[in-house]
């Protein structure tokens, strides 16, 4: 068995036993990337010399007798909207195509303490806006299961790179499903933590009240471990939660007998593919067999979630993306004679169409005369959605739904229809609005060989319940991986 087939946990064991060097791991992954990256296009920045020199440094660090932590020497790809000092951080935008980050994000600092092996900066939808990774200034990412299909988005690169064995795990960001949906479409595990559990400092903001960084991994155990490594209070992020980080790995493989699972009927709507539905139902039956109680539950206000999201996220984005103006960094139209001309041309040329579309929506929703009807109203409906979840979690430990209504779709299929594209996130968006944690993991494969994902949702800071159920599904539900590459 090749090294690349091992999960982070197994690699860690081998490193601890000194059975392999980090350099050997690096070599295996670089070789794999050489083989498949032309097809996948998962990376925006990848430099094998840099990977090797980092690997050697870590080997020396280990040889010097330093502690080996969970991610010492483990290859991790970083979504290109997470700042990495001295390394290009482009957000897959022409606007930042030459931007070299001037500081490390807090999650990078935390992983650096582990001496992780940064394998590269992963491709994504521009500024994390998209559900297919087609909105990248660095080209589309292809799904390793079927190269004609999208990997999902916006963390298409982080998901595809893990699925294609180009890295052991990766970090993505999730604003409306951007970790979970691509994880689902690529047949891997993606976790969006509770809002505030992981510091956002250094994550280029899309929608500040919804964004969270989270792990994309090949199994639930790696997901728990990677979350543990990056979670925690950060004095640089006022919205981060100041409570201790639990030992997430300890919640795996526990007895789920008596745990109560709610199935929100608003997320089992007609738009969900039959195959997706039956795979999810199959997983639910397995959970019942293991002693969990499964019941249907209604969260009536979820029908507004998509609309609420498409007010709040673009509104915040329109303000967050104002800083890209060509003055201090990034792309600038150099032929402009006046500042206003420079702003307009820089932004018209530097941003792609979807980013501009969302800036326009957000500017409209915040503008004078529309604020109350859109932005303020959306924030009130958001409260209704939160209240629905609060009520549901009085009864249930977790809620379960499909992650995505469909399996991976063909590249180009939805590219010209923003609204249909937005519907890809109908099951994941409510979770961000409520700030609660959720995981997506594979629960089957469709007839045409595309993975199907199941979403497990927990209450605020109840990642423990999410991981317990996810771990049970992982061990009970069998499926077969069959990549095209």
């Amino acid at each position: 068995m090749s090294l690349i087939n091992l999960g982070a946990y197994e690699l860690n064991e081998l490193i601890k036993k000194k059975e392999i060097s980090v350099f050997e791991i690096a070599k295996a992954y670089v070789q794999r990337i050489d083989e498949v990256e032309n097809d996948i296009n998962a990376f925006i920045s990848f430099d094998n010399d840099l990977v090797f020199s980092r690997a050697r440094e870590i080997d020396k660090y280990i040889k010097d007798g330093n502690d080996i932590l969970d991610f010492t020497g483990i290859p991790i790809a970083i979504k290109d909207n997470v700042c990495t000092k001295g390394i290009k951080t482009t957000c897959a935008s022409k606007m930042l195509s030459n931007y070299v980050a001037v500081y490390d994000a807090t999650v990078i600092n935390k992983l650096n303490r582990h001496r992780f092996l940064m394998i590269g900066k992963a491709n994504m939808d521009e500024f994390a806006m998209g559900s297919s990774n087609e909105n990248s200034a660095f080209g589309v990412v292809r799904n390793p299961w079927n190269l004609d299909c999208v990997p999902g988005g916006s963390s298409g690169g982080p998901a595809a790179s893990v699925a294609a064995f180009e890295t052991a795990c990766s970090l993505g960001s999730d604003t409306g499903g951007s970790i979970r949906q691509p994880a689902s479409l690529c047949g891997i595990v993606g976790l969006k933590p509770t809002y505030g559990r992981v510091s956002r400092y250094g994550l280029v903001a899309f929608a500040s009240s919804l964004d969270q960084i989270g792990p994309l991994t090949r199994n639930v155990k790696d997901s728990a471990a990677l979350l543990e490594a990056i979670a925690g209070y950060d004095e640089y992020d006022s919205t981060s939660i100041n409570t201790d980080v639990p030992n997430y790995k300890s919640f795996l493989n526990t007895d789920i007998k008596g745990m109560r699972i709610g199935i929100p009927k608003e997320l089992m709507i007609k738009e969900i593919d039959c195959e997706v539905k039956s795979s999810v139902n199959n997983a639910l039956r397995m959970l019942e067999k293991s002693g969990a109680i499964v019941e249907e539950v209604s969260l009536p206000n979820l029908e507004y979630a998509l609309s609420v999201f498409y007010v709040i996220a673009p509104s915040e984005a329109s303000s967050n993306l104002s800083r890209f103006d060509g003055v201090r960094y990034g792309y600038r139209n150099t032929k402009s004679r006046t500042i206003r001309e420079m702003y307009k041309k820089t932004r018209a040329e530097g941003f792609g169409p979807e980013v501009k579309r969302r800036i326009m929506i957000g500017t409209y929703c915040l503008s004078s005369g529309y604020y109350d009807a859109y932005y303020d109203k959306a924030k009130r409906v958001r409260t209704l959605i939160i209240n629905d979840f609060k009520k549901a979690f009085l009864e249930y430990d977790v809620l379960i739904s499909p992650t995505s209504p469909t399996t991976a779709f063909k590249i180009g299929d939805r590219a010209d229809d923003p609204l249909t594209m937005y519907l890809s996130d109908v099951c994941t968006i409510p979770v961000n609005l409520a700030g609660i944690p959720a995981i997506s993991l594979p629960c089957g494969v469709s007839k045409n060989n595309l993975p199907i994902g199941i979403q497990v949702i927990g209450d605020i800071l109840r990642e423990d319940n999410v991981l317990k159920i996810a771990s049970a599904i992982e061990s009970e539900v069998k499926w077969k991986m069959n990549l095209q590459i």
Binding site: R347, Y364, R380, L384, L419, G435
Partner: protein, 96 residues
């Protein structure tokens, strides 16, 4: 669905957002935005009487820093990604 957004609105919003759409692009974006905004107006149906707006899902308050100096950029770091600068600062074209 009635039209909510017209070309004039698009031009006004683009001005606020410092964006620019060519004449060729403007029909398409007007149509797309109109469809999206039409969809969004669905939130108007929700009954939010006596419901307070949520700005933060977590009820965290009073997060402060102590007034202590941290290290600032060097000049080089400050200008590292600057599109155009001179000795004294970031250069920008004439302000209009």
């Amino acid at each position: 669905m009635g039209k909510i957004i017209n070309k004039k609105d698009i031009k006004h919003i683009a001005k606020l957002a410092e964006l620019k759409y060519s004449d060729a692009e403007i029909d398409k974006i007007t149509d797309q935005l109109d469809k999206i905004i039409n969809h969004i107006t669905k939130i108007g149906q929700a009954d939010t009487s006596n419901i307070v707006p949520t700005s933060h899902v977590l009820e965290i308050t009073n997060v402060y820093r102590e007034d202590k100096v941290r290290i600032s950029f060097t000049r080089e770091e400050s200008f590292k990604n600057a599109p155009l600068e001179d000795e004294d600062g970031f250069k920008v074209p004439k302000i209009d």
